[in-house]
């Protein structure tokens, strides 16, 4: 695996040398990549008027070119992640059909980028108690990791951590917010 990672790194450094993504580089150092790399990222065109159009552009992340995605920094990737979160029913750590489909898709991405390490964060909605939710989030993360491993992803590529209800994604207090907060969230921790 280290050799594969090495190959990818070499390729990376060839294609995106300017970005200077050395292996252990802290995410802080983010020199703006001059010109080349951001293939898919749209550099602001000259005419200022089409700002509304720029907002309408977002179809592009769906069809990101492979080079584009692997050239992006971990921070960028996590901000606009290729991984989708798996959602859970209330008070449950069982992956339902939709959740398994999401994890299957995420496993495909992990297979495509074999150097990526991910952390699966277990999150809960605010309706459970602070204390219990930490264990529930842990179980959600474990459920996802177990399913990833059943799909052939090596366990050492997946770390888990529970945040209980400490970090809600939607600060609302309704069904939609709660559903959005009951999730296993994928974070790329190294690549």
């Amino acid at each position: 695996m280290t050799t594969r990672a090495g190959v990818v790194l070499v390729l990376l450094s060839l294609t995106a040398a300017a970005a200077g993504c050395a292996k252990r580089q802290p995410p802080v150092a983010q020199p703006v990549p001059p010109a080349g790399p951001p293939v898919a990222a749209t550099p602001a065109p000259q005419p200022p008027p089409p700002t509304t159009e720029a907002l309408a552009v977002p179809p592009e992340p769906v069809a990101i070119a492979e080079d584009g995605i692997s050239a992006r920094s971990i921070e960028d990737l996590n901000r606009d992640s290729p991984f989708k979160p798996a959602y859970f029913p209330l008070d449950s750590a069982e992956l339902d059909d939709a959740g398994r489909a999401v994890v299957t898709a995420n496993a495909a991405i992990m297979r495509k980028y074999p150097a990526w390490m991910v952390t699966v964060e277990g999150h809960c909605d605010e309706r459970g108690t602070t204390e219990y939710n930490l264990a529930l989030g842990e179980r959600r993360a474990v459920a996802v990791k177990t399913y990833l491993m059943s799909l052939g992803i090596p366990g050492d590529r997946v770390r888990i951590v529970s945040y209980g209800k400490e970090f809600p994604f939607d600060l609302g207090h309704d069904e939609r917010a709660w559903a959005s907060n009951r999730r296993a969230h994928f974070v790329i921790t190294s690549k």
């Binding site: 901000r79 602070t130 264990a135 474990v142 770390r159 400490e166 994604f169 974070v187």
Partner: protein, 473 residues
Amino acid sequence: MNICNSQLPKSQLPRRHVWTPVVLALVLGVGSWALGVGNWQLGVVRGQQPAPQQPSEIAVVISGDPGTPPRYAVPDFVAASPEAADAAKTITQVLFDDLAFEREFYLIPRDTYTTIPAARTPDQVPFAAWRELGADAVVFGAVSRTGNDVRVEVRLFNIRTQQSVFSKEYTGTAANPRLYAHTIADEIHQQQRALRGVARTKLAFSSDRNRERMVGTAENRDVKEVYMADYDGANPRRITTNRQLNIFPVWSPDARAIAYTSYRRGYPDLFIALIYEGLQQEPTKGGTQNWLPMYSPDGTRIVFNSNRDGNPELYVMNRDGSGLRRITNHPAIDTTPTWSPTGTQIAFTSDRAGTPQIYIIGADGLNLRRLTTSESYADRSTWSPAPFNEIAFAARTGPGYDIKIYDLATGTTRQVTFGEGSNESPAYAPNGRHLAFTSTRAGRVQIFTIGRDGRGVKQVTRDGSNFTPSWSN
């Protein structure tokens, strides 16, 4: 400087009373301000007295009219000089609040006796005016200040007998005048009601009040740090500074250490802050995920939650991390442990029956039994100290939670909060008469205290959001 004049001829003093000022330096450094005062026992004072003619316990206690609590007044402490005025004002107000907190006395509202002249010496006490007001007991005090030093003299008078039943003098730094009031209140409760007051106890909790954001994550995430404060929320002090999640702080029984769960390694693990030594211990030493520590009542062991064997289970270890033993063994969630006062049993939460419910298990992992049967969701059990034999917990009562108390002797459950916001994370005061808990009743999550009978709600925190209180001994 002599306010309560200690040079008074003995004949003018109440016969039984011995006016021996006990001078004790209060050292208010970080190292000892919570504990340096622990050695004052009234026995020390009594030990210096000549043998009283009457048994002192009977004569000293001030009672009210039959069937009613004694009526106490706390007139403004006299400031000997303008620079002592602030301290005198603070001490008076805090003492009033402290004496009211235990609800052993009826505190006469302070604005009803502003016209009664202040007594600068014991023989100036206008007993007639106080009797007319209906006071059974009046606490007089005087504060003088020299530079950074303060001297507080206090006397408790029985208005009926016109006797001083309690008199002390305290000297120390002027840095924390509230501590004088807390000490006086604890000693009056001890002497008058044989009650261990909580005025000098502390709360530990986690808070986002510093409004810092976590570094190095894609999302905007608030950090939480561990704080401590006086039982009334005053004097908040920050304990952790690592800009991560620092949650679930709990006091060691000697109140010198706070164990907590921190994500500083990127995952939850246990840490112990020795707050007066400025040291940190790591009993679980990383590598596994551990959270929700709780000290045994004798302080030698810690029960905690861990997924080291793949599932949230309970473990017990010695305080230093040695002697690890697994307590629960079930594929369901087992979490949120609390010790019985004797350290022989552990109450915890498990969803092994489908929903989170409270169970009790021996500290050896044997003799499991289920406690809650009529709740849809119960968590954060917390076992009362003796003499009470009950377990408080948070129970789902609708969209949110309320604090309920299970009486182990009768097997009955009573409710303490009633749907004002969501109420979670109960923690007993060391004398078992109060609970700290969190509530959303005032907007954001804040810490409140309440009597175990459900009366006397007080908001303790107001800054930021505040979570999971622990009450020190």
